[in-house]
């Protein structure tokens, strides 16, 4: 597919464009263009929260972040809706809106901890709202309302004032997934086969988190998700140009699309020695050859990325139409020796993490891109028109993402 406007012909003299020419819609199918309004509209963002983020399965944290019974982990989903994940006395992981049934105070405030520790205004083993002392157990039941009978007589009672529970499953490497839609189908139906290629690495034995990083980035979430959906931007990363693009077979990697907007890139190996300062890697994840690399993106919030000795899971969570929280987790095997863990950390941090070569560049790009994509700036279209037979530089992954976006939003990406 050639990208040309009506006034241009391939092979013509290259030239800068007038305002009229600039604003002409490229002669491309609608599926190959995205209006920049998708990245700047508050109205569209609110619809996205309702139609996408509150309808699909989202990874929130990892089971190893709450290893003991009565451990908890707080988080926020699209728009920063507060939630709390709790491992019950029955060892089951449940998720609740972290909002008190009484006056809507946030109940559990710390990022993580154990309910076994008493709070200043409440008993241990419960989630206690510090405001008026209402208490909830690890199943979300309201178990204590101070002076309940005196204040409410029998008009309301704690038995009917439990927390709002959110559908939760633990799967695919021990990630905790939630779905705000009580009528949603099972997680495995949503994922389809998009993580099948890495199940051996994810599920042969328990994973354990060793790295956590979060960045609040000034960009619409889709701009960052786009960087997970295409590999044409390997040109951005010197590391990737050295370790991957120079390898024979790089341009032949298959890029496969799955239902519900998920994508999978084909297995490949990476030559770390070709990036000076980064040595070859011998420690691997189960079933992965040395220097192997696998990558799957799960619409709309996650990317699983396995580089030889570590698993990285990105969670992309929109805060507003122009701000996004990126949470990045690194995993090794739970049974790692200290030496193995240290080796994984070194591998992980050479590419990822706040001081790694790659993530910094992705975040830099999404943030700078946002400065240009603003209402009235003249930025009209994101062009997603590369077609290379579903190989690694084909932008088919981005197109599949927006096709799913259109389906869930019932909106066109060209005239939203």
């Amino acid at each position: 597919m050639d990208m040309k406007t009506k006034s241009e012909k391939p092979g013509g003299k290259a030239h800068s464009r007038t305002k009229k020419e600039w604003e002409l819609k490229p002669e491309l199918p609608d599926s190959h263009l995205v209006s920049t309004e998708l990245f700047t509209s508050e109205k569209i963002f609110k619809e996205e929260v309702a139609n996408i983020w509150h309808k699909v399965w989202l990874p929130i944290c990892h089971e190893s972040e709450l290893p003991e019974v009565l451990d908890y982990r707080t988080s926020g989903i699209a728009g920063n809706v507060p939630i709390v994940v709790v491992r019950g006395a029955d060892n089951k992981i449940r998720t609740f809106l972290n909002i008190c049934s009484h006056r809507n105070n946030i109940i559990v405030r710390s990022p993580a901890g154990s309910l076994k520790n008493a709070e200043p205004s409440g008993n241990p083993n419960h989630m206690t709202c510090m405001y008026h002392g209402w208490q909830f157990d690890a199943t979300g039941s309201c178990v204590e309302i101070p002076r309940e009978k005196a204040g409410y007589q029998d008009r309301i009672c704690k038995e009917s004032l439990g927390l709002r529970q959110i559908k939760t499953e633990v799967a695919f490497g021990g990630m905790v997934w939630i779905n705000m839609d009580d009528s949603a189908g099972p997680l495995r139906d949503f994922i389809g086969g998009a993580l099948d290629q890495m199940l051996e690495q994810l599920d042969t034995e328990p994973l354990e988190i060793f790295h956590y990083q979060k960045s609040r980035v000034q960009c619409n979430y889709k701009l960052f998700f786009d960087t997970s959906r295409e590999f044409y931007h390997d040109y951005l990363h010197f590391h990737n140009r050295q370790t991957s693009m120079t390898k024979s077979g790089y341009f032949d990697q298959e890029y496969t699309q799955f239902k519900n907007g998920h994508s999978v890139s084909g297995f490949t190996t990476v030559d770390y020695t070709s990036h000076q300062g980064t040595s070859t890697r011998t420690l691997t994840m189960p079933g992965l050859p040395p220097n192997g690399w696998r990558h799957s993106t799960i619409f709309p919030a996650a990317a699983y990325n396995i580089r030889t000795s570590c698993v990285r899971v990105n969670i992309i969570m929109p805060i507003s139409d122009r701000e996004t929280l990126i949470e990045v987790r690194g995993f090794g095997l739970k049974r790692d020796t200290a030496e193995e863990r240290s080796s994984r950390e070194i591998d992980y941090c050479s590419v990822w993490g706040p001081f790694g070569w790659n993530l910094h560049e992705d975040l830099l790009c999404a943030q700078v891109q946002t400065q240009a994509i603003k209402e009235g700036s003249g930025a009209l279209w994101n062009v997603i028109a590369r077609e290379e037979g579903n190989k690694v530089h084909d932008e088919v992954g981005v197109r599949a993402c927006y096709e799913e976006w259109s389906r869930l939003m019932n909106r066109s990406t060209v005239n939203p």
């Binding site: 790295h211 956590y212 590391h239 830099l364």
Partner: protein
């Protein structure tokens, strides 16, 4: 042999000198002050989110050196980082061959091209705080850094950094 009284001032000068080299991005000067065979550099912090100590960088001399050489080839936030240190403690080993030095640091970022250079270049923000835990070899002809652990209090580093702290 060194005594604590005799080396406090020279150590302080040395610590400010290596800080200055990092601030001026004179990476080779910094490396000259590090022991080529033994130096190791780590960035660590405690994460209340995962309730674990974690490592964000772990590099030996050779990896650091290559990293400095490759910096111009990467697309980086080229904002200037300015480190200010306060030396809190100097402790000599029993054989007086190594000094353990703890310094608190504050890092400011003066923006250049990380977001919008037209609006924000020249703005200075507080970027990170923490402590350097250093081991300094006391040698006949001066000091050599043999170990640096950067212990961060700050855990949100915006888009991160290709430059070490």
């Amino acid at each position: 042999m060194a005594s604590l009284d005799n080396i406090v001032w020279p150590i302080q000068r040395y610590m400010h000198s290596i800080t200055n080299a990092l601030n001026l991005e004179r990476w080779s000067d910094f490396l000259t002050d590090c022991c080529e065979t033994r130096f190791n550099y780590k960035i660590v912090n405690y994460s209340p989110e995962i309730r674990k100590n974690q490592v964000w960088a772990n590099r030996n001399y050779a990896v650091l050196k290559k990293g400095f050489e490759l910096l111009p080839r990467h697309n980086s936030d080229r904002s200037k980082l300015t480190r200010q240190i306060v030396i809190k403690d100097i402790e000599l080993s029993s054989d007086e061959s190594v000094a353990k030095v703890i310094s608190s640091f504050v890092i400011y970022k003066t923006h250049l091209d990380d977001i919008d250079s037209h609006l924000l270049s020249g703005v200075t923000d507080l970027y990170a705080i923490g402590e350097y835990h250093d081991e300094v070899s006391i040698e006949k002809d001066g000091f050599k850094l043999i170990d640096r652990v950067v212990s961060l209090d700050t855990r949100q580093l915006d888009i991160g950094s290709h430059k070490i702290f």
